[in-house]
Amino acid sequence: MGKEHSIELRNVTKTYKRDEFTIPVLTDLDLVVPEGEFLALMGPSGSGKTTLLNLIAGLDNATQGSVIVHGQDLGGMSDGEITRWRSENVGFIFQLYNLIPVLTAFENVELPLLLTNLSKRKRRDNVMTALRAVGLEGREDHYPRQLSGGQEQRVAIARAIVTDPFLLVADEPTGDLDRKSAEEILSLLQQLNKGFNKTIVMVTHDPEAAQRASRLLHLDKGKLVHDEVRNNLEEGVASS
């Protein structure tokens, strides 16, 4: 086990305490996400999909069970270690993009690189590569408010991939976009998955978005209710 399965959840239970009530969010969940998979998480509100995403991304700790990524148990790490781990291994994409409004597109993408020891010149190269990958060269000096929603999300994706993490987590990445922009973003994610072998875990409400994934997972009341691997679909959509 381990190496070939990039992400493995064993018996994961997550509960929250609200006053004296204990609210279960995930119960006894087992899941293996192999490296290079594009996983879509679906389910009604409160089904636990964002919590599952947070666990995989190393933002949250499981109450019981373990989350093992690349053979490393995330539960056993200190806050400093897990933060460092995230900076090296995970790229984040949010519904509302969450770009820093006071920074330009270039500076937003550069932000995670500032945590590394790369030289200024090398950082510049990487940022430009990432911006080119999302099709935004020439926009590097624009501020977020000067960009459209779809462009903002592409900057966010560039920011997510600039450190070359193996895992991208996306929470409703198309939830705030019009159909056309959403399609572009999804194609971009597919391309990153196929062309660069990024593992992607995406939470979505949108069935059409879910179609782009290579695997579809339905959650309800903290349990996996449906698991579907869709091997051949992505070629068809990509070519359309």
């Binding site: 933060t83 969450n98 006071v102």
Partner: protein, 389 residues
Amino acid sequence: MKFLHYVLRNARRSPVRSLLTIGAMSMCLALMMILISFLSVNDAVASSLRTYNRLVVMSSQGFAQPVPFARVNEIAGMKGVKHTTTFAWFGGKYHDEPMPFAQFGVSADSIFSIYDEFTISPDQVKAFADDKMGCVIGRKLAEERNIKIGDPLPLKGDIYPLDLNLTVRGVYDGPGTRDLRMCFFHWDFLNEELKRVSKNSKMTDNAGVVVVKCDSADRMVPLSKEIDNLYLNSATPTRTQTEEAFNQMFAEMFGDLRGMIRTIGLAVVMSLIFVSGNAMAMALRERTTEIAVLKAMGFQRPLVVNLVLTEAILVAFIGGLIGALGTKAFFDVVDLSKHSGGFLPFFFVPWPTAILGLGASLVIGFFSGIFPALAAARLSVINGLRKVV
């Protein structure tokens, strides 16, 4: 620092808030500078007197007690003494205005040799020496009251039962740390007049205090002991101290006012910590999601603390620059002493005080930023992100 441009942009993100914080900071620090300078000017001036090798001989029973005139010449004959002069406070009214400026009865021959930092043309010194009823006044006094050489300067006695109708024979100038509003007249003239009008011999032949110019700094301490020992068993014992210590004595008279000014200064610093801390906390509350994103991205807690602290210190420091250096520049241009009605001979913000103000702004910045910074570092990423979704 790689993150400086991010910190700078954050500080500018809400210009109104930053400007208001800077405004509060600079106003309050300006006040602090004024209050502290009020004390530190005295210290700065007292210590600047060190190089002139002057001693002041007063009665050991205080200013109200006389120092007999004979001592001026006795001391002049002592080893290591260059010159001596009487320095008798007249305290007269000018056109019925009580305590308008300081007036001293001096020895016209030696006064400007003793106070050699004062500049005055030799012609004027001679004109003053030649006119028994003449006087020399400071440049600022001449300018502010538009008194010219040759003008009359009538002084009405308050302590002494006589009036002096003097004529201005010269105007002296000098460094900014010296009182340029004094009036020097002939002590001999005062004494003659006193002998004429008063049957009471107690008032006459009083030198006031004796100012002694020494050959060298080394002679000052032994000489003061020699003088005091000489008169210890006389009817009027003396207390001799350096001019610096003598001036320091006046600063000490402020008494509890000094402590109070420090208390007010501290209260102002506390207030500014609350005020800018509040502004910083409000700024960060509006940026909760952003901080959560940074932390998700891999920004470690110490880095988050640093970013917030740097921002807080930066804003405070700008306030400090305006408040401390601005106040210094302001009083370098505007002469407050002119408007103090003779109460302050000089007023400026000494450099150490301005630096202290800058230092205070850094301290305020640190304490105003540290709690919001720690709160930001402790912020749960999940809660921070949830705010938006």
